[in-house]
Amino acid sequence: DAGITQSPRYKITETGRQVTLMCHQTWSHSYMFWYRQDLGHGLRLIYYSAAADITDKGEVPDGYVVSRSKTENFPLTLESATRSQTSVYFCATNRGRKETQYFGPGTRLLVL
């Protein structure tokens, strides 16, 4: 049972390039989330999705785009990467709205 997988695990890119981070879950959980973790800020919610084709903004959505055409996938796209988007990105899922949250292993992104 793979649970939640994220790819790539590490990524180096340059300012202005488009980058897509992938999140895949095998549990058929309804809810999926994207967070970024930076020193001094803890984890901050970027976007979340309550079901396929339903997405909404979190605390820090600017510069990011998400989609969810299938229940199991929730890609996060940085349309034009900036240095301030250097961070560790975590994907998470809940089976339902008021349920335990499970995290993927994270993707370390460096924008040069």
Partner: protein
């Protein structure tokens, strides 16, 4: 948005000691969860605890929703307990994390 404050920010213990971590939040919430981030960066859910008390081995948690705080108790600490402990609260679908308590357990 909801504010989440955790204390203390840092905690150093000798193996075998007990500790209490606190999480205060500024508004009514739908649920509250505690997570442990190990030194390799992995986030593990410890408790889903919108109210009441739960125990899991050496760890227990209590949330008093009416007074807007939660406590995480670690008894007989072990070096493997080291890492950062996060409290996260949810209002509707918005999740907010505290800044964490960094725990170091020395052998």
């Amino acid at each position: 948005g909801i504010q989440v404050e955790q204390s203390p920010p840092d905690l150093i213990l000798q193996e075998g000691a007990n500790s209490t971590l606190r999480c205060n939040f500024s508004d009514s919430v739908n649920n509250l969860q505690w997570f442990h981030q190990n030194p390799w960066g992995q986030l593990i859910n410890l408790f889903y605890i919108p109210s009441g008390t739960k125990q899991n081995g050496r760890l227990s948690a209590t949330t008093v929703a009416t007074e807007r705080y939660s406590l995480l108790y670690i008894s007989s600490s072990q070096t493997t307990d080291s890492g950062v402990y996060f409290c996260a609260v949810q209002f509707n679908n918005d999740m907010r994390f505290g800044a964490g308590t960094r725990l170091t357990v020395k052998p």
